[in-house]
Symmetry: C2
Subunit: 199 residues, 2 copies
Amino acid sequence: MQIVVVGGAGTIGKAVVDALSERHDVIVAGRQSGTVQVDIQSPDSVRDMYQEVGAFGALVCAAGEAHFGPFDAMSEQDLRLAIESKLLGQIRLVLLGRSQIADGGSFTLISGYVFDDPLPEAASFAVANGGVEGFVRGAALALPRGIRINAVSPGMAAESEEQFGRFNPGRLPVPMRTIGAAFERSVDGWRTGEIIRAW
Amino acid sequence: MQIVVVGGAGTIGKAVVDALSERHDVIVAGRQSGTVQVDIQSPDSVRDMYQEVGAFGALVCAAGEAHFGPFDAMSEQDLRLAIESKLLGQIRLVLLGRSQIADGGSFTLISGYVFDDPLPEAASFAVANGGVEGFVRGAALALPRGIRINAVSPGMAAESEEQFGRFNPGRLPVPMRTIGAAFERSVDGWRTGEIIRAW
């Protein structure tokens, strides 16, 4: 089965690719890296990616940006990045790919622990994560041909501890292998409409 | 205390106004009705509303639109309404009103049960609701001067049963008074960063 991993060259994306490439043919897509170029903020770019990829059995997204910074200074413009990239960008991958994915295929999007356990600096992330989780739950009820959809909500990744540990008192970093395995459960498992927490 | 109820002339808004007006001075704001006009999709309109209202101790939003219809036909354009109105429109009320609200004041936004218990036709609503819930949890950690923020997540309102009952097998309608009371608990209570479910 051919699996597209959008953002597969990023911190979490690499863990996803590691987990999936043992048993699958993985195509890494990314804005600046990977074998296929895609900018999830652009519908045209997403369409081009699907045309280039052709037949596929699963798509995983480990991409999507959002603003991280003090809430006091957070403007609507700051929030737009979360909306257009981490939220709409991911949903766009499903809306534009759902007719092309194989029967019984799956989409796996990425949410994150700050929806459940927020940080003052990560309100934008919480907005995007909540939106993604709502979309996944709704879409799972209506996708045709046995197509499944889940979101993985990773905790603080071990490889991000140096950057984000100081914002997360008492939060134990999650080994990259644990995060990769959560994506593998979504792709190779049976569940749909679920938020798979990797904390 | 002066309380602004955006969407106060709508089905749920009326229940909110009923619950709050016994003990408070309520100003109803709305796009076409109420004593103050506001379109939450427009930052300028929200700024004008706050200028007209002046000092206030609480703002409740019972407004925000989203697309309801078959998922198969749902386009990114359909989803935009949920993003710009029910999600960003509500957040905008907080971002633009937070400097003007009284010390110890509160914002109460509206989410909805389809985030937790989705309907295939309501994926857009689920996106907006999840985003609102994420925002509320994050913002509560950072709002200054004792300002609180919650979201009320109403079930299927009794007055909407005729319109939406057929999409909701086995869902008991929630009396309007129960929904109004949930908003009252947010405004006159002590909690912050909570999703108050009225199911």
